[in-house]
Amino acid sequence: MNQDPFEGRSVIQFTSERDRRAFLKYAALVGIGGSLVSALPISNALAATSPSPSPSGSPSPSASSAPSGSPSAAGSGTSQFGAGDIGILNYALTLEYLESEFYQKGLAANILGDDAKYITPVAAHEAAHVAALTATLNKLGATPATKPTFVFPPTTFTDTATFLKSAVIFEETGVKAYHGQVVLIKDGAILGAAASIAGVESRHAAVLNYLTQMPPVANPVEQHATADEILAAIKPFLGA
């Protein structure tokens, strides 16, 4: 078992960080979609924290099998969680379950010292997101995804630095995940709701990067990732 999941690997890479100047010159919003997708796949960064390290190289982004804990429907992307917006909401719920459990365990471990004041609200937000998404799914007459069993690397809740670095990655993953769904959501109200959650994840990401001496705003616009990329990245955290 790898005791230091970050050993020898950067926790997360901001490939676009040095591209600000170029962005100023060339970016037009209409063209952003393609260029942002080409940034480093989040799976590379997340793999660095996975309890069962992937083979060298990035995991396949094409998530060939549904993660355990997900609803029964086959398919890739969010469709394995349900059709359309329901699938997207259940996908988001699954990610929020992960974040929520992560922070609950982190706070319970009492390893955060003065930083706990910044993390306590974050834990409350993630729990609120779980509750809100569940309530919304129920309201829509859909079945909320069940909470998967999660596994975390052994030092996640015993080493403060490891916890905070993991938090950075989870938040950056959450941001990319929500932004990856923005244009796929059909219902305006759900879009607004998802965006309002995404903004909070961005705040979390900024604060956690700040606390860990990482660049807190790596790009002038948030990046996005597909559900398949995100699900492949979190797969190591999903237990049997």
Partner: protein, 237 residues
């Protein structure tokens, strides 16, 4: 446009369960074309970029890391101006010209006053973008506007941290962001700008009756108006 009309949606903060689909109306009906929305955003970004250009030039932030963050924020806002301008041109819509921008004399008098207005601007920007999310019809523009929105949220949080703001209510604004209606944003920023040529924007006079009473001109936009009012009474140094 594969998006249903905004109506019954809403999300409002709170640390307990939120009804994402309550009957409270917070989302505005479409307030214009994508071009209108982009020009609205461009106006806000002009103000923000100018604000940081002047504030950073005043050397009020001295800590190396904080200074670096403020330099990054300035570059982000400048990037947003450029990207919005390029996008409007691509759409064949004339970008609004940069307005004459003025800030109360006290704004750049101290680190505290600079941080205070920075925090209000960022949180207003967050609410402004979110308020338009449901009105954007072009998916690429939506993706990009959402991407800018998230970065404004990062800025808001960072300035909160640097300001020593209380975590919940200062750095964070609850479990969800709160949209601000365009008319409220315009009312709040109008005093900082000396005219908005070629947009047709006028100071907001339309009532925002789709907002629950308690939310009308609430939060960040109200703080911005209050800052401007107080600031304008401060004699120049």
């Amino acid at each position: 446009m594969g998006r249903t009309a905004i109506g019954a949606g809403a999300v409002i903060g709170g640390s307990t369960a939120i009804e994402l689909l309550s009957t409270t109306r917070v989302w505005a009906a479409a307030e214009g074309t994508d071009g209108d929305i982009l020009n609205f955003a461009l106006t806000l970004e002009y103000i923000e970029a100018t604000f940081y250009e002047r504030g950073n030039a005043a050397s009020l932030i001295t800590d190396a890391r904080e200074k670096d963050i403020f330099a990054t924020i300035q570059k982000d806002e400048e990037a947003h101006v450029q990207a919005l301008t390029d996008t409007l041109n691509k759409l064949g819509v004339a970008p609004v010209a940069k307005p004459t921008i003025t800030f109360p004399a006290s704004t750049f008098a101290s680190r505290d006053s600079y941080l205070k207005l920075a925090m209000i601007f960022e949180n207003t920007g967050v609410g402004a973008y979110l308020g338009q999310a449901g009105s954007i019809t072009n998916k690429d523009i939506l993706q990009a506007a959402a991407g800018i929105f998230g970065v404004e949220a990062r800025h808001a949080a960072l300035i909160g941290v640097i300001s020593g703001a209380t975590p919940e209510g200062g750095i964070y604004k609850g479990a969800t962001e709160t949209p601000i209606a365009k008319s409220d944003v315009l009312a709040a920023v109008m005093p900082f700008i000396g005219g908005m040529p070629n947009t047709g924007f006028a100071p907001a006079q339309r009532s925002v009756n789709y907002l629950p009473a308690g939310l009308a001109i609430g939060g960040a936009a109200a703080a911005l108006m209050a800052f401007r009012t107080r600031g304008s009474r401060t004699p120049p140094p």
